[in-house]
């Protein structure tokens, strides 16, 4: 297939995934800000949202203060922020239009309908309870697109490039979400402290749709070490780093089978995956959670670069 087509398919998935993750992060922030415990603390949840999104510099160039209105406006609608939900959707649809022939009808119609409905959302409509409706809409549209991808695309190169985009973006986003908690290093097996701490850990799990799955896997209350293990090393958790790296490795293996050629990205993906697959949570904390996550984000970026080099994006 055309390299440009592969590139576009990959980025459509990345942008849709990014929009969904922004919606997840915003929802958690909004929820936390309603907790009385938070109101008493000095920590500004809205500020940390900007940090998680990795957009601190750009945000403070454009706004003085991380008020809820400013953060929502910046992350959801700001046309100057290339990663705002609005821009993610517009870019995904524009890329989709450029490679329509490579998309299934269902994928295209999902992208196009999302884009057609987008102008109906703006700062005014997301005030108060409108925010949740908007975030639900973003998440639904993204899930619908991924569902259409998995359910309707032929299992050949175009599909695997789409999946690569999803997993690369998701691995980055999950690492960032967990990273908010890097400064909290609790002793092994310690129970999560009361109040703020409990809600923060719970909110991280919720952000990745993992609250209930965590409980059904561990059944022993919220423990930081287990939560970190769940979100990094457990392959059965679909948004964990291990699960994403498995997805990347498998997609790349399929491409290698189809094309009969392996590249540097295959070696790297295998290395990242085996590190997570055989890793232990003790080692992560020994290295330092923040260091571990930063390294993962960096490796993930390098892998993305190698993928684009291998397939001439």
């Amino acid at each position: 297939m055309l390299s440009r087509t592969a590139d576009n398919l990959y980025w459509i998935s990345r942008y849709m995934e990014r929009a969904e993750n922004l919606a997840r992060i915003l929802r958690v922030t909004d929820r936390l800000s309603l907790m009385p415990a938070i109101a008493e603390s000095d920590g500004n949840e809205w500020h940390s949202t900007i940090v998680v999104a990795g957009l601190e510099d750009m945000f403070y160039e454009r706004y003085d203060e991380a008020t809820p209105e400013n953060v929502i406006s910046f992350l959801a609608f700001d046309p100057e922020n290339p990663s705002s939900v609005r821009n993610c959707i517009e870019t995904a649809r524009r890329n989709g239009r450029a490679v329509r022939t490579a998309l299934t009808t269902e994928q295209w119609e999902t992208l196009n309908t999302t884009w057609l409905e987008l102008p109906g959302w703006n700062e005014n409509r997301v005030r108060g309870s409108g925010l949740n409706r908007f975030l639900d809409w973003v998440k639904d549209r993204s899930l619908l697109f991924h569902g259409a991808t998995v359910a309707t695309m032929l299992r050949r190169d175009s599909y695997f490039f789409s999946r690569l985009g999803t997993f690369i973006e998701r691995a980055d986003n999950t690492a960032r979400i967990v990273d908010v908690k890097y400064h909290i290093l609790l002793p092994e097996q310690a129970e999560v402290g009361g109040g703020i701490d409990y809600y923060q850990w719970a909110s991280i799990l919720r952000a990745v749709s993992g609250y209930r799955s965590y409980n059904s896997v561990y059944r022993q209350g919220l423990k930081p070490w287990l939560i970190v293990e769940f979100l990094t090393l457990r392959e059965e958790m679909p948004r964990s780093l291990a699960s994403c790296s498995l997805g990347i490795k498998e997609s790349l293996d399929h491409l290698a089978d189809e094309y009969g050629q392996r590249h540097e990205c295959h070696r790297m993906a295998g290395q990242i995956h085996s590190r997570l697959r055989f890793g232990q949570v003790d080692d992560i904390f020994r290295q330092g959670l923040h260091e571990f996550l930063s390294e993962h984000i960096e490796n993930n970026n390098r892998l993305a670069y190698e993928i684009s080099r291998a397939y001439l994006f």
Binding site: M1, L2, S3, R4, T5, A6, R94, R97, A98, V99, R100, T101, T105, W108, E109, N112, T113, L116, D157, F161, L255, Y259, Q261, Y311, L312
Partner: protein, 472 residues
């Protein structure tokens, strides 16, 4: 006095013409709000699929839908037989003409077409002199614009030999009308058009360069998503199952064209390009073109790739050349032309110019190189100021204009705000030429949605209709 207007369904109050009997009954019975509902359904369908036509720089929604009129236009089998035979004949003559003017130039030597009309024409590409193309075909996809003024009277208004667009609407209109009105399709035997894209693919593959040994690799080349016909480009690539490429996806090495793929370079044999000559190759034509592929002309002239339509094919859709087409049919094919031309005055000629200047208020005056309904004067609809302004432009460069009588274009029943009412229509069938020449039964019917308007161009608010050719 205005001539009587021919309505294709039949004059008001009179018996409907045979092909329209069932449709007329059906229209008489169906409540208007049901028609409104169906029209809304159609609009939703077009929006959802993204069948849009981009109009930039005028404000408002840049991705517009061309109004689709839900009432079909119907042609009898016998009418179509005549038309399609005429189209094949005409396009064969046009192809022979283009091959000739870039080759032996016999028609110029015979004095049938004046040399200066051809050799000094802006659309004549001297780079094409002496280039041999497979099967001598230059306009592989031609769109011939026709109008009807009476039961047996069809005229050719314009030949589009460069990049005629609109065929995707012909196909999508059929798709949507079959969805909306299955009951009508049960009662009419409508000749299918679905095989157009297969025919197109065959045509393109049949003109692969002689040195192409395996299955030819065909691609569609688009200027990109901001082009007004982008939807059509992607639609055609999709239906043919070939890649839709942009200039930067292609490159030339040792006079061979390759596309960049995830598996490395892949050789390309035939390019159905929807990029104008001017933008095709910055080394040969406009140096500022970012849409083109440097070196592609050299590869083309070396016979390593074929382009559809050929570079320089525009010489045949020049409106001054148009006047000679009936003579071309006689000259190249030794046949009587089946399709008639509209009587045309060439303003570059003294006597014609004098006549045109005197009768501006009755005539339609067009720029020789213009298209899309821009830069023309419709005398009977123009104000005195507009006529005076146009007369001035005409005086300055008469050779840039032709003039034709205002034709009483036929009307068809059309669903408009006021209900079902007659509106003027034209017809653009699409003719494919490769190893053989063929036409799918039908075409794009364009309709002027405003009462009395004769301008059917989509850039000027015209709409489209599904065009049915009945099976005998």
């Amino acid at each position: 006095m205005a001539p009587a207007i021919f309505d294709e369904m039949g004059a008001e109050g009179a018996e409907p013409r045979p092909a329209y009997r069932v449709l007329k009954d059906w229209l008489d019975q169906i409540p208007l709000d049901v028609l409104t509902l169906r029209r809304e359904e159609a609009e939703t369908f077009f929006r959802r699929i993204g069948i849009t036509f981009a109009v930039y720089g005028e404000g408002g929604d840049p991705e517009r839908i061309i109004p689709y009129d839900i009432i079909p236009r119907i042609l009898e089998a016998a009418e179509w037989e005549q038309i399609s035979a005429g189209l094949v004949q005409r396009v064969n003559a046009l192809n022979a003409f283009i091959a000739d003017v870039y080759g032996a130039q016999e028609i110029l030597k015979a004095g049938i077409v004046p040399s200066e009309h051809v050799l000094l024409n802006e659309t004549y590409r001297h780079q094409m002199q002496g280039v041999q193309l497979p099967h001598n075909v230059y306009t592989h996809i031609a769109g011939i614009d026709m109008v009807r003024v009476g039961p047996e009277e069809f005229y050719v208004l314009e030949d589009n030999c460069r990049t005629p667009s609109g065929v995707s609407y012909m196909l999508e209109n059929r798709e949507i009308s079959m969805r909306l009105f299955p009951d009508l399709f049960e009662r009419y035997h409508v000749a299918p058009v679905d095989h157009y894209c297969d025919d197109l693919h065959h045509t393109l593959a049949s003109v692969a360069p002689r040195n192409c040994e395996s299955d030819p690799t065909v691609v569609v080349m688009t200027p990109g998503i901001y082009n007004s016909a982008y939807y059509e480009h992607s639609f055609l690539a999709d239906q043919m199952g070939v890649e839709l490429v942009e200039g930067p996806d292609l490159y030339v090495k040792d006079d061979i064209v390759y596309m960049r793929t995830t598996q490395g370079p892949k050789r390309v044999d035939v390019i159905y390009r929807r990029v104008d000559d001017d933008f095709l190759d910055p080394l040969a034509f406009r140096a500022d073109s970012a849409l083109g592929v440097p070196g592609i002309m050299q590869a083309y002239r070396a016979g390593n790739v074929n382009l559809a339509n050929a570079v320089g094919a525009g010489i045949a859709d020049d409106k001054a050349i148009y006047t000679y087409v009936p003579k071309m049919v006689e000259f190249y094919l030794g046949e009587k032309p089946i399709l008639k031309n509209v009587p045309t005055w060439r303003c570059g000629e003294k006597d014609d110019l004098a006549y045109v200047k005197e009768h501006l208020a009755e005539l339609v005056v067009k720029e020789v190189h213009g298209s899309g309904g821009y830069g023309m004067l419709v005398g009977p609809k123009a104000t005195k100021e507009e006529i005076a302004k146009f007369a001035h432009a005409l005086e300055k460069a008469p050779e840039k204009y032709i003039a034709q009588p205002t034709l009483a274009l036929s009307t068809c029943p059309t669903f408009v705000n006021e209900g079902v009412a007659p509106r003027h229509v034209d017809l653009r069938p699409f003719i494919l030429s490769g190893r053989e020449t063929r036409v799918v039964p039908g075409g794009l019917t364009r309709v002027a949605m405003r009462e009395g308007s004769l301008v059917v161009n989509s850039s000027q608010g015209g709409g489209t209709k599904d065009t049915w050719v009945l099976k005998s």
